[in-house]
């Protein structure tokens, strides 16, 4: 059945748990191209370099009935006490999903949270903004 996907179909899943109150997310694949244009050429030419994945997401800061904060597995990767900073085990498993009934269209990756911000403003809902950088190959790709 024909379908146009909308924001209602999107889901962000962190470590196999869907994150509540996601406002938006964006995933970008980027191919680095290496220029091979020589001095005698009139047109530019390129060879493929390495591929990388990155993106961002915006979440409402939300506490559910059980007292769990929806951003817990994300913000604590950067907002934390102690001198250790970010360590090699702080990568996160992210799934970006577009749902069509039982049909899931996924992009799954291991990523590092590279920035996180949260604030408060009069008359506005508190939002958390995160950016991430994928590392290695995508684990699952079921979009086409």
């Amino acid at each position: 059945m024909a379908k146009v996907y909308t924001g209602r179909d999107g889901a962000l899943i962190v470590s196999n748990v869907a994150v509540a109150k996601v406002v938006s997310f964006q995933v970008t694949a980027n191919l680095e191209t290496l220029e091979t244009t020589a001095l005698s050429d009139n047109l530019r030419s390129y060879t493929p370099g390495v591929v990388g994945y990155s993106g961002s997401a915006t979440l409402l800061y939300y506490k559910d009935d059980s007292g769990n904060i929806n951003t817990a597995k994300i913000l604590n990767r950067l907002f934390r006490a102690g001198p250790a900073g970010v360590v090699s085990t702080d990568d996160v498993d992210l799934v970006f999903r577009w749902v069509d009934g039982a049909d899931n269209n996924d992009i799954r990756m291991t990523a590092w949270i590279t920035s996180a911000s949260i604030g408060a403003a009069t008359g506005d809902i508190v939002r958390a903004e995160i950016a991430f950088q994928g590392t290695g190959a995508l684990t699952t790709v079921t979009i086409s």
């Binding site: 290496l34 091979t36 001095l39």
Partner: protein
Amino acid sequence: MAFPTLVPTSRSFESGDYPVKTFKAQNGKEHRILYGSNRTNMKLSLTYANITDAEAELFLDHYADETQGTFKTFGIDRDTTKGGWEGNEDAIGAGTHGNAYRYENAPQLVQVRPGISTVTVNLIGVL
């Protein structure tokens, strides 16, 4: 094995000079003595960006096996090494002035990604 026939992605050239000795008298007047009739010491720097490792290896093999490093001189191909130059061929060459090129130093290789490298070679014209 000749110098690899690839067109560089960038080239820089210094024209060299005639062997001139300059003296300056106490009154400030300059005296110059010309010791030879051929211009020499021209410098040609060639960069081959993002070429395959097999192509990059040609430069390493030429340097190591053919010229014995910086020891032997050699000629370069007009159509490729000087590719893109639309002036007279001899203007950026060495042969017209009785020179031949040799490596000024070892080729520099930078691995960019698997199978792709960038090579820079510095040549100097000598009599």
